[in-house]
């Protein structure tokens, strides 16, 4: 029973990691149609931010709290730069954004290697995040990430729903021309969306530094998984990404417990391909009358 519970939590926790990683993508890919392969490298930027902050502020707890907003800024600003220089001119070519951002990812990885050196670096977890919660086998870091993911997704959902900015973003997503005609600046809506999405990648990077080490290839390990979450969830709505992330997490952990880690991954990928046969539009789809 105890093992079952820990395993269930492992799945939920993996889901929360996937959600944090994929949330930004759900925004940029889901809302804007931009396939940002450099999303993983924005995470890497966030993780290195955590490393640098800890170098300056040696108190692990304080540095984590400072790193979260700074990581958001680091990822967000990189995203803003990418949007303003390259992606802006590629709205009509979504597939090409995938290639361009892959090139950007290559360059960013090499940049990290040249700045921070090839060896991985480590970020210390604060004392209040070490060990397990009370007598259970739930690690405090994982609980922290779960809470972080839930907070991030709630704030984002509220912002999209309630603020004027969110309304502008949603309008742009649903009908770009009509939004433009109604006086909404779609350029700035795009830019803000991309800033938010990339910033979320930065936050995910800071969170991941609590679980593993930080290296130039941190992002590549997660990018395929992140895209799968968005694809399974269905584009256009955050709800889909949330459900998809937690389902994939639990399914992967269950497969992994009953088989091996490698085989679990293969099974999961095959399951996803099969799932998209049944529901090519993902779990939650925007209903439209277009032929797409």
């Amino acid at each position: 029973m105890d093992a079952l519970f820990s395993q269930l939590f492992a799945g939920v926790s993996l889901g929360s990691v996937l959600l944090l990683v994929a949330l930004g993508l759900a925004l940029t890919f889901g809302q804007m149609g931009v396939i940002n392969m450099a999303h993983g490298e924005f995470m890497m930027a966030g993780a290195y931010t955590a490393f640098v902050v800890q170098h300056v502020v040696s108190n692990a707890g304080l540095s984590l709290l400072i790193a979260l907003p700074l990581g958001f800024l680091a990822g967000g600003l990189l995203g803003l730069l990418l949007e303003a220089t390259l992606l802006r001119r590629m709205h009509s070519r979504p597939l090409d954004t995938l290639l361009v951002t892959f090139g950007v990812a290559l360059v960013l990885q090499q940049l990290a290697r040249d700045i921070f050196g090839a060896p991985n670096v480590d970020v210390r977890a604060p004392a209040w995040l070490q060990g397990a919660v009370l007598d259970t086998t739930i690690p405090k870091t994982r609980l922290f990430i779960l809470v972080l993911a839930v907070v991030a997704v709630s704030l984002l959902a509220l912002a999209l729903k309630l603020t004027p900015l969110g309304r502008r973003i949603r309008a742009t997503v649903q009908n770009r021309d009509l939004a433009e005609a109604s006086g909404i600046s779609t350029t700035s809506a795009d830019r803000i969306t991309f800033f938010l999405g990339s910033g979320l990648a930065g936050i995910a990077g800071v969170a991941l530094s609590l679980l593993g080490s930080i290296g130039p290839t941190l992002g590549t390990n997660y990018i395929v998984d992140a895209f799968l979450v968005v694809v399974v969830g269905g584009i256009g709505q955050l709800k889909g990404a949330v459900i998809a992330a937690f389902s994939l997490g639990v399914v992967q952990a269950t497969f992994e417990y009953s088989t091996t880690a490698s085989l679990a991954k293969v099974l999961l990928l095959v399951a996803i391909i099969a799932f998209l046969q049944v529901r090519p539009q993902g779990l939650v789809a925007l209903r439209t009358r277009s032929l797409a």
Binding site: L98, V100, V107, T220, V224, S262, L276, P280
Partner: protein
């Protein structure tokens, strides 16, 4: 000049370059290296067709490249082991029993047929299934990428029957010919060159055929093609299967040339690397993918050993600039109306192709 004549001249020039100039000018080692690049270029021809002409961003060609390569490697391993023998690595790491699905690869005929048919059939079935459900654009790209990830993981995990991360290597003979003999290595080069030329010629025929025009029509306006009574899914799956077949043949020849095939050659990153040359050369042109892919491979070998860091910046930067600003690749720079494949290295008149296509893959 008459376009047909131009095609002829371009083709002849390429043949002279590959069959006369290169073998005379290059050492055995460099020639073998070129043979390797030609194998990668075969994959590029297929990508150029499926992506440039069909608008399908195939991110997982490593799967088919790997299938071809592994099928060939299985045959060579079994041939080296002798009749009834078991490959060395199975004795070392496994229980020394040959799995049943390895058995058919003892026959050279079955192997060649399998290389030509299996990957293409897999692509046809998979492609038809997903295209019928109207999975396309980014979804298809990500799906094919996931396939590459799953394939590499599967190969790594089944060490006792696939060689795991080590892959398969240490081949001594290729259909009975000793691979240590330089003369045989040279023959292998000629085979690669011949096959590549044949593929280019084949694609050229297809591009100008009724099917080729339908494919471009599907890429640009899928719904209109459907309303005309065609089945776009079948048209696309056909192009996908052809690209898969080319990739498999490339992989099958790559294995004896490089002397190894391993999961590092089939996963997500190598699959995307295969695309880079195509994008830089010009995806929708006939020779752009070939020349782009050979040039990138060549430059990579030459530059990466001296400046690994600068090389990455250069390749990444070039890739970004080309895709963002020159969607038709460097080919679109040379001639305005008839994008020629020449990248400056080649001076003879090159093959003409149809009008430059617009960027692939509209939603």
């Amino acid at each position: 000049m008459n376009p047909a004549l131009k095609t002829w001249a371009g083709f002849g020039g390429a043949a002279v370059l590959l069959f006369a100039v290169a073998p005379a000018a290059l050492s055995d080692f460099r020639l073998n290296l070129l043979a390797k690049f030609l194998c990668l270029a075969m994959v590029a021809v297929g990508i150029g067709f499926a992506w440039g002409r069909g608008g399908m961003l195939v991110l997982g060609q490593g799967v088919f490249f790997g299938l071809g390569g592994y099928l060939m490697a299985m045959h060579m391993k079994l041939a080296d082991a002798g009749p009834g023998g078991v490959p060395d690595f199975m004795l070392l790491y496994g229980n020394g029993v040959l799995p049943g699905w390895w058995e058919p690869m003892r026959s050279p005929v079955v192997t060649v047929l399998a290389i030509l048919v299996l990957p293409a059939a897999l692509a046809l079935v998979l492609g038809y299934a997903v295209f019928r459900r109207r999975v396309r654009g980014a979804y298809f790209a990500i799906l094919s990428q996931a396939l590459a990830a799953a394939f590499a993981l599967l190969l790594i995990g089944q060490q006792t029957v696939t060689g795991g991360t080590n892959g398969l290597n240490g081949f001594r003979s290729f259909f009975g010919y000793d691979l240590a003999d330089p003369l045989n290595k040279q023959t292998l080069y000629y085979i690669c060159a011949g096959v590549l030329l044949a593929m280019v010629a084949g694609v050229r025929l297809l591009m100008n055929s009724r099917y080729g025009e339908l494919l471009v029509a599907v890429r640009d306006q899928e719904n209109r093609v459907r309303f005309l009574g065609y089945d776009p899914a079948l048209i696309k799956a056909g192009a996908y299967a052809l690209a898969a077949c080319f990739a498999a043949v490339g992989g099958a020849l790559f294995t004896p040339v490089a002397g190894i095939i391993s999961p590092a050659d089939v996963g997500v990153v190598p699959s995307i690397s295969l695309l880079i040359g195509v994008a830089i050369g010009g995806r929708a042109t006939l020779l752009g993918p070939v020349i782009g892919s050979i040039a990138v491979s060549w430059a990579e070998t030459g530059l990466s050993e001296r400046f690994p860091s600068i090389w990455t910046y250069f390749l990444g930067g070039l890739f970004i600039v080309v895709v963002a600003f020159l969607p038709n690749g460097l080919a679109s720079l040379t001639f305005r109306r008839r994008p020629s494949p020449a990248t400056g290295k080649q001076t003879q008149p090159a093959t003409s192709v149809d009008l430059p296509a617009t960027s692939g893959g509209h939603p």
